[in-house]
Amino acid sequence: MRRVGIVGMGTTKFKARWTDKTYFELAFDAARMAFEDAGIDRKRIDCAVYGIYNDFFQRQYQPDAFVHDYLGLGLKPMVRVNSGGATGGSAIRIGYSEVASGLYDVCLVLGVEKCNDCYNYEVQTTTPEVLRAILYTADMTYDNPAGRTAASGFALAVVAHQEKFGNPTEIQMAKVSVKNHYNATKNPIAQSPKVITVEDVLNSRKIVEPFKFYDNCLYTEGSSAVILASEEVAKELTDNPVWITGVGASADYVMPGNRPNIYTFESSRVAAKKAYEMAGIKDPLNELDLAELHDAFTGTEIMAYEDCFFCEEGDGGRLVDDGTVMHDGKLPVNLSGGLIGCGHAVGATGIMQTYEVALHLRDEAGERQHKNARRGLVQSIGGTLCTWTVCLVLERGKG
């Protein structure tokens, strides 16, 4: 396999609604920024991978075809990837394979999502209709008719974890919310920058036990893109590439009956282990400098510390209490603000997380720049009770 580097990247702002852009217009903006960053134009792209989650959001089946056309990439090969919340991570994994295999030299990986055209006219807001669109990706025969949401699915896992290990506590979860909203205040693309307190989180309205309003990420529209290149091309295009040195992926049984338990996400453990093996990491807590973990909910960020082997199983809550994952801690998690602070534009999210880690590895993260970022982790998860996980290890190219 060939070495693969990130040679260009771009992202739109993550925000609740872009009334002035369609999904393909958002994609265009992200692609244009990535091309400018790489110092190339569309002609240099050999192939594309698009991460787009929900056709109902876009009001378009096969939206990838229209993005590809709009970007002027006609006649170049492309494929669209969809694996729920892990769509962005999966798209990078497939783009990595395209280049590592030697099939192509330069691959555009672009994620886009525009959910808030969905609209409930009765309550004059988008969310209930967005949830309806999401629920079409739950099992249609058994789960969908139960009125479950993504939040209630993950809440069940967090409750199971609490039953087994006595944490995460409500206060630990609230601290994650405070941390991620705060981190977002330093991120110019973030949707939800806020300085809030643990009390604010605890007093926010209940969504689904044990999650309060501030324990959840919001629905976001946006697009993010990275351009991947072979080592040879990467060295030609930039003196500051970011190398993808670890790629791990796993897809679990979607019907939880086939799983031994739901208090841990086995796909996350398998994916992290694979990525670490490939990158030669034995002690992630000491060998990683920063991580972007999929914090769709505060409680699942804490579970992710365990699933990514930052600590023993059942010990995740401690890393919040002892400050390890804070912005100035030993292993800061979600300096971007994560999904809770920066936003969750589903197909774009994993790519935004990758963009964030790469930004630090290029020393370009501005006010929130990690002081000595040499190696970072991206975790991208999605689907019912974490069906999919993709983990990526990124390393700085410049000395």
Partner: protein, 181 residues
């Protein structure tokens, strides 16, 4: 199921999916008769649906011009001078922002066929013409609604002209094409 349970079943699905009662009865009479073996495949009414307040984004003016002014607009790239219709905010080849240009609404058929069978939504309209039209002043072809009395008169090279419906909604169906007399 007894008679009253069957009536409730019909009423529930009629209300839930908007399928006329007579259609439901036609399709499910046998299933609800109690004579179908338990192991036989069970088919049920269902639909997938999402409501939108959909934004046309940077194409918005195109649809407002149709609705308000009965005008078709294209988008011209200042760099390569190509004119897009359907319009787009940026030229996909040069990546430059485009400029709006009004079009005459005339054009020529570049490919056409007659449809004798089609989707549920248009099934009552067959036979009808399905055609690509190149609008004058543009560099692109566009799939159009064509309304003609005699479908055998339409061929490649036929000149056509845009007509606008009396009642317009701000959608591409506000406009249709007829051969130029």
């Amino acid at each position: 199921m007894n008679e009253s349970e069957r009536e409730k079943w019909y009423a529930y699905h009629h209300q839930k999916f908007g399928i006329p009662l007579e259609y439901l009865k036609r399709d499910y009479e046998e299933e609800l008769s109690g004579k179908v073996p338990m192991e036989a495949p069970l088919e049920v009414p269902d639909k997938m649906e999402v409501l939108y307040k959909y934004s046309f984004g940077q194409q918005s003016r195109f649809f407002r011009e149709l609705r308000e002014n009965k005008k078709i607009y294209g988008a011209r790239c200042p760099e390569c001078s190509k004119v897009y219709c359907p319009p787009r905010s940026h030229c996909s080849l040069c990546y430059q922002p485009t400029e709006w240009v009004p079009l005459k609404g005339t054009g020529v058929i570049t490919a056409c066929t007659v449809q004798y069978f089609t989707t549920s939504a248009f099934i009552r309209k067959v036979p009808f013409i399905c055609a690509y039209v190149q609008l004058d002043g543009t560099d692109f072809i566009m799939l159009t609604n064509m309304e003609v009395e005699d479908v055998s008169n339409i061929r490649v090279g036929t000149r056509v002209k845009a007509h606008f419906r009396e009642e317009r909604h701000g959608a591409i169906t506000d406009v249709y094409f007829r051969p130029v007399d």
